[in-house]
Amino acid sequence: MNGKSFSFVFAAVLAILCALVVLSLPPSADAIPAFSRRYGTSCTTCHSDFPKLNDFGKAFKDAGFKFPKDDESFLKTPPVLLGAPAQAELWPHTVYPGSIPGLLPIGLRYNTYFQQVSANRNNFNLALPAGTVGNFIPKSDFEPGYFSIFTAGNFGTGISWWVDDDISVAGANVNGALGDGYLKFNDLSRFLKLPKDSLNLRAGQFELDLPFSQARTWNLSGWDIFSQANIGVQNGLAPAQNVNNGLALEDAANGVEFSGGHAYQGYHYSVAVFDQNTTGVFSNPPNVAPQNAIAYSSDSNFKDLYGRFVYRFNLEKDPASRNEVQAAGTTGPRDHTYLALGTFYFYGRTVQPFSGVLSDGVTPTVLTAREPFYRIGGDVNFNYRTFNVFGVYVAAHDHNLLPVTASGAAGITGFTPSAAATFSGGFAEADYLALPWAMTIMRWDQVKSTADRVNFIEYDPSAPPPSSFFSPYSATRNRFTPGEQFLIHANIKASIEYQIRPQQIVYNPATGLPLTGPFRTNALIVGLEFVY
């Protein structure tokens, strides 16, 4: 392995290490106390186990963070008018009138965690030379989580917004980042004489329209398949890979999205166009307006595409009940019994620039590998009363261009197609709301990645590897995660999750042979979270 390829390997491994550190934190999860204040209602109006939405919450979100009908009659604080409604008749000779909420719609959230890890947690140190002081994983650990601010609402004329930001993560203020930040134009279909709610547009930064939101998951840990990147390094093992696609489906997208339909019944679709952000770097200094304000993170003019379609069949026999936002139960409204079937497709293209030489073999140049990729998947979601079972399957495919060096050349001179870098997998989860304040969860996550196993095996004695403690034993990672969640109040939740982790193994850096047999480092996570 030459120096350049080692640097590449090292950078890739570092990137994955960083990604794992970040992923080890529970994902962001936002419920909206701002709406509770605005409407004078409990979190449970929209959430069954926050932030998991019930059918009414889905309808509220679909309507642009409004009650689906007669919204104004539910407002406990009147909005501030930004122009009398009658001004609309004067448009375009006046600014079109809108409104802002009468109460500043801000919510805050904080969570804290405790972790207990099984006895073989420090096995990764086996690869260190004798006498070396290695990293240490404590048996138990208390850890601060997120402190987040979020604001959302509507401006009265079918325009809604959402902004959330993690002010601090794991106790460090510098780790926070913008989650979603977008403006959404709801029901544009009314201008085009299309069926109601059949066309919306949102612009800004947003989580893709995944079958189940990773940013707002109710689980302590996110679903593995949505966190899976596709990074395959060249390390001399077959199959050789040269993909550096850091994109995970959970990543926020910057762009625009057209959508329509409803999440609580019938069809729903979305089509998004956004920056490819797989290996983007900020330009420095910014060279395009707005001056010095915003740099550009995309290193390509290529725009990624994402599309989703789902159809939900509400299964109540009574047509009146079936078509309402919530079903009419004998002792009160409840979520529908339903079956939803969906599919999604992501298409993008990564860009990897390399220092190389022209065909003369000596003149330096930059060679660019453009590797198209796609993610395709399907999902199913079935709900019966308080029992919800659902799952997702994803298949990923990245074009794989291997660098080639012409005979006698001083560097790489081009690329040659090779076997695609792929991964697949998904998850299945069952949630049972045994009591209105207690939910039992059972999850199974699986990721089968052609890159996962080879990425952390290094057997070149001249290039010592980084720690390989998290190296999966095989190309398939299974994780079982039973859990229980308790609402102490509608805005305070205690969660417990036991992660039966994927099998791991430690390799001898000199031989590439296993130092240990496969083992698991299981973890018990306890979380406390409150929003206000």
Partner: protein, 192 residues
């Protein structure tokens, strides 16, 4: 004969006026509306009122928040909201056996319930847990809802000795013996 009848009617009316008193007073120690009612009189029953009373669900609230009715009154629960609601009460005066769930009904429709058991009925909605209302079922037709300053007046109470109870949301009930003779004052001081 006509004279006798007229005299009888006159005397009866006079007796009624003379022996029907008024209880008035003030409920203090709490703020907002309270309910004051005369407890049941041994050996005496009252006919069930024929007039129905309506409690609305509007803007995610029970309207009115407090409703006082006489035992045997039928209350109609209306849903004026465009969202689904439910009405149930887990108990009446703490007696869980008297709890009841009326189910679900859409906007503009109503469901009725005849309250044959006296007591405090806490109204709840199982979709919107913040919603709260009360039906106070008085064992006698002698009851009143105070104004916001706590003042109340119960008319047409026959003279006699009674137990009068004052109820306020979140406060401890207070029952006082009251001897009604004409215009009678009965004040209550409640505490939480």
């Amino acid at each position: 004969m006509k004279k006798i009848a007229l005299v009888t009617i006159f005397m009866t009316a006079l007796a009624t006026v003379a022996f029907a008193g008024t209880i008035h007073g003030k409920v203090s120690g709490v703020s907002g509306e309270s309910v004051v009612y005369v407890e049941g009189v041994a050996g005496k029953t009252f006919p069930a009122p024929t007039q129905h009373i309506t409690v609305d669900q509007k803007g995610l609230m029970f309207v009115p928040h407090i409703t006082a009715v006489a035992q045997g009154t039928t209350v109609e629960f209306l849903n004026s909201d465009s969202v689904a609601h439910n009405v149930f009460w887990p108990s009446i005066s703490g007696n869980k056996k008297l709890g009841h769930n009326l189910g679900t009904w859409p906007q503009g429709q109503r469901k009725s319930f005849k309250f044959d058991d006296p007591g405090i009925v806490p109204l709840l909605c199982n979709v919107h847990p913040e919603m709260s209302g009360y039906v106070i079922v008085s064992p006698t037709p002698y009851f009143a809802v105070t104004d916001k300053s706590g003042d109340f007046k119960i008319d047409n109470v026959p003279d006699g000795a009674y137990t009068v109870t004052a109820w306020h949301e979140g406060a401890k009930n207070k029952s006082n013996p009251v001897k009604v003779a004409g215009d009678t004052t009965a004040d209550f001081t409640l505490s939480k």
